[in-house]
């Protein structure tokens, strides 16, 4: 009796799994085989792989996501490392997480003001004698804002990895005569690499699909996979092609997940 009753509890969750996890993934693959006239075809895929525009867009998107991830790691690793040495580190970590609770659109909007013609950034450039520049709607501003938004999601898993690191290893390394750099390079960094990998997972894939930033900050100059999907679905209404790019994005995601190892995605989300 107990067993049958507990199976009833599984029904809503099971329905969710079927309707909102399995069905949508199936539907997007299914839809990618239909053209505008609802005929079953592989034309979308052949167009995608033969068109220089689509391939260039994909490479561009991957390149920008790579740059964003690289800058995020370069800024976040030292931050997490120094943060971890502080006395009230949990409190400081909370302060790192706090900006992620501010709506992402508001942060993008702030940068529209900061980077505008007479904005804060240009006032600073004028002050140091460079003179005002066009900052908004450039590729650099897109990378800057995307990096800004992703930093907390990278700091968090690296911080957690540092927290899991047994301090005895560091002491042992020092006792055995390793210099500070050797200890970092040979002991601390390799042991916190899982944290970096989890961070890359949490940053790289969203960076492929940030379409609101390309519109608001990048001025439509950078087209990411996400922008292309959004455009096909909501502007040109070519759902088949949009789904095809979606399948490409899913494949890219699986590749990244496999490359960054089989460890559980841990601390990749704010908690």
């Amino acid at each position: 009796m107990t067993n049958r009753k507990t199976w009833l509890y599984f029904i809503p969750y099971g329905l969710w799994l079927a309707l909102f996890v399995i069905a949508p993934v199936g539907l997007i693959i299914y839809q990618s085989f239909f053209d505008l006239g609802h005929h079953f075809t592989v034309a979308n895929y052949s167009t995608y792989f033969q068109s220089a525009t689509y391939l260039k867009m994909t490479l561009n998107s991957v390149w920008y996501a790579f740059l964003i991830t690289l800058f995020t790691v370069l800024i976040s690793y030292p931050t997490a490392y120094f943060l971890h040495q502080l006395k009230h580190r949990q409190f400081w970590l909370l302060l790192v997480i706090l900006p992620t609770w501010i709506n992402i659109l508001l942060k993008a909007y702030a940068f529209i003001g900061i980077f505008s013609q007479a904005g804060l950034a240009n006032q600073f450039l004028t002050f140091i004698g460079i003179g005002p520049q066009q900052i908004l709607f450039t590729n650099a501003s897109f990378i800057f804002v995307a990096t800004y938004i992703q930093i907390p999601f990278m700091i968090l898993p690296i911080f957690n990895a540092l927290d899991d690191l047994n301090p005895a290893f560091i002491n042992a390394s020092k006792d055995l005569g390793a210099s500070a750099w050797q200890t970092f390079h040979r002991v601390i960094f390799p042991l916190t690499l899982p944290g970096v990998k989890a961070g890359v997972q949490a940053v790289f894939i969203p960076s492929l699909s940030l379409f609101m930033l390309t519109r608001l900050i990048g001025g439509n100059k950078v087209i990411t996979l996400g922008t292309a999907i959004e455009e096909h679905f909501l502007t040109t209404m070519n759902w088949g092609m949009g789904s095809t790019i979606g399948v490409v994005l899913i494949v890219a995601m699986i590749i990244v997940m496999t490359l960054t190892g089989d460890q559980k995605p841990k601390g990749g989300t704010p908690r």
Binding site: T2, T6, Y9, F10, P12, Y13, L17, L19, F20, V21, P24, V25, L27, I28, P78, F82, L83, L86, L94, L98, P99, T100, W101, I102, N103, I104, L105, L106, K107, A108, Y109, A110, F111, I112, G113, S116, A118, G119, L120, Y148, I151, I205, P206, S209, F211, M212, R215, L216, L225, G226, I229, F233, G246, L249, I250, M253, M257, T269, P270, R271
Partner: protein, 267 residues
């Protein structure tokens, strides 16, 4: 010396993290109409915000969707965690967890696009209903991930004891299991709430015409340029996030304290 450098670096990072947010809030009190020169203090933009009927309706919509979806997601997610925890076969558990995490790792655009196809195929009209369902859908996995660790910490001897003493399944659930995992349930609810309030991309895909949440509204207004009413809105939202973070932090601290207390009793 080294400590100095490290601290300077940290100060710099924190400055960059908070500068845009402070910048928004400072200009929400400026008498001008742009975010370029500060023109003296005023509450004017807050007055505009609080008399903007459209904006207030959207805030109400957003809060309604967030609260309702988090409540339902917490319920379904907790039941899901209970069932995952009951599975005895390792393979079943692992595949359930993998399926659970699909929506956690998928890019927002994919979730939005696939839900749009799903709703259109089932002829579900786009609007409040579709947004609510989508939010419930992407909040469930985080609730499961928050509740599961608490369930694993629960000792089976406690459950056996309750059953030996004649507790029914319902009593077991309401008197033993739910109270024990409640910190996880609360954490899951809070995370679901922030996921909902923070979401833009998924909502943007499934919202259709006529229904809007804050993120979508900010997006369309920001595309039209600077409007200091949005700055006032960010001031209000920052305050709200502070309260949420405070609440979340307090719950975590409280549950940790309880754990410590229990350890003291045991030792």
């Amino acid at each position: 010396m080294k400590r100095h450098l490290a601290n300077t670096y940290l100060v710099l990072v924190f400055l960059i993290l908070y500068a845009p947010i402070l910048f928004l809030i400072v200009y929400s009190f400026s008498q001008g109409d742009t975010m370029t020169n500060y023109h003296g203090f005023t509450w004017r933009h807050y007055q505009t915000l609080f008399s903007d009927a459209r904006m207030l309706a959207i805030v109400a919509n957003t809060l309604l969707v967030a609260l309702l979806s988090s409540l339902i997601a917490t319920l379904i997610g907790t039941l899901g965690a209970l069932s995952i925890n009951r599975t005895t076969k390792r393979v079943t558990r692992e595949s359930l967890l993998t399926l659970n995490n699909v929506l956690m790792v998928s890019p927002d655009v994919i979730i939005g696009a696939s839900f749009l196809i799903f709703f259109t195929m089932l002829k579900i009209p786009l609007g409040f209903g579709s947004v609510l369902m989508s939010h419930i859908a992407f909040e469930i996995p985080i609730v499961v991930l928050m509740v599961l660790p608490r369930l694993r910490e629960m000792s089976t001897s406690m459950l056996d004891a309750a059953q030996d003493l004649g507790a029914t399944t319902r009593q077991l659930l309401s008197r033993v299991i739910i109270p024990f995992i409640s910190p996880g349930i609360f954490a899951g609810f809070f995370m679901a709430l922030t996921y909902s309030l923070d979401d833009f991309a998924v909502t943007f895909f499934v919202t259709g015409n006529g229904f809007s949440t804050l993120s979508v509204e900010i997006y369309s207004r920001a595309r039209q340029g600077i409007n200091l009413e949005i700055n006032a809105l960010s001031g209000v939202m920052f305050l709200f996030s502070l309260l949420l973070v405070g609440g979340y932090y307090w719950i975590q601290q409280a549950s940790q304290k309880r754990k410590h207390r229990k350890r003291e009793v045991v030792s």
